[in-house]
């Protein structure tokens, strides 16, 4: 897997070639991050595509005092929230909102209902407030540090840690309950 520093250098040397390296590393993680938030494949596809176009166009704005991964996930998160806001007729969803996404509402043909426990886990995650959802997803699925989560969500590492632990507790409670 190409190191982020090498990707940044490659983009600076040759935008198109460097960007291909960037996508090779981040295309799937970014898509899945967005998919977990918006659920529908079509929406995730739109937001992921827009994310990479934005990354390309605003690459000059990246500052090395922030983790490259966190910067990318920040853009992806914003695109996902923008899409959810549009779907809900809002101007822009904030991280304090609870995304009104349910699996029943958004599931499409690219959804496997046969994985009962995995479906329940996603349902549990989708009941969480956005900040907890993001902290949990970034830590659990993307192995991000609390510092990176904080940079991606514009908060502090301590807050990211609290949100992650609150999310885990609520998920466990949900999974131990009889809720389907």
């Amino acid at each position: 897997m190409t190191d982020d520093k090498d990707i940044i250098q490659a983009v600076k040397a040759n935008a198109n070639q460097g960007f291909k390296l960037l996508m090779a590393k981040y295309m799937e993680p970014v898509y899945w991050h967005i998919r977990r938030l918006v659920v529908s494949h079509a929406d995730a596809q739109d937001a992921a595509q827009e994310t990479f176009v934005r990354i390309f166009r605003s690459f000059d704005q990246y500052r090395s005092d922030c983790s490259f991964k966190a910067w990318i996930f920040r853009i992806a998160t914003n695109e996902a929230l923008r899409l959810l806001s549009r779907n809900q007729g809002k101007t822009m969803m904030s991280l304090d909102d609870t995304p009104a996404v349910t699996l029943g509402m958004k599931a499409d043909e690219y959804f496997d209902y046969s994985q009962v426990e995995a479906v329940r886990l996603q349902k549990a995650i989708l009941t969480l407030p956005a900040k907890q959802q993001l902290a949990f997803n970034m830590r659990y699925y993307d192995d991000m540090t609390y510092e990176e989560i904080a940079q991606a969500t514009d908060s502090t590492a301590a807050s990211a840690k609290v949100n992650y632990h609150l999310a885990k507790e609520r998920i466990v409670k949900y999974m131990n309950s009889n809720e389907a």
Binding site: N16, Y31, Y110, Q115, Y140
Partner: protein, 128 residues
């Protein structure tokens, strides 16, 4: 793994990172292609291929400006023409008076005037 310390009944490890979501075949390759197509267009546009477009836009703008100026000039001409009717009868009256005065002259005087003014270009240009 960060979630191993969970002592509750539910065990995250049983599910791991499994998700009930999937994607169409070759989706990621297609997505990459779509993105490159979109940013490729941006790159081309930013790297100068947009210049001829800008030039042709400038040319079109100039043509439009010239057409607007011509139309405005034509409109002004008609407006001025419309405002002239009050003067035209006066000019016609002047001409009739001159003609009447000319007719009242004797044949010799008429012949003399015709001889003097028939080659007067300045007088002709005034008529038109």
């Amino acid at each position: 793994m960060k979630h191993k310390d969970m002592k509750q009944e539910f065990d995250f490890d049983k599910i791991g990172k499994q998700m009930p979501y999937n994607v169409p075949e070759n989706f990621f390759a297609q997505l990459e292609e779509n993105v490159m197509k979109e940013v490729g267009q941006t790159t081309e546009a930013e790297s100068g291929s947009r210049q001829p477009k800008a030039k042709s836009f400038k040319l079109t703008a100039n043509i439009i400006r010239a057409a607007i100026a011509a139309a405005a000039g034509l409109a002004l001409f008609f407006i001025v023409q419309k405002s002239l009717p009050n003067e035209e009868p006066a000019a016609t009256d002047d001409f009739n008076n001159v003609e009447l005065a000319f007719n009242n002259l004797s044949t010799e005087d008429q012949d003399y005037l015709m001889e003097v003014y028939q080659d007067d270009l300045f007088m002709d240009s005034e008529t038109y």
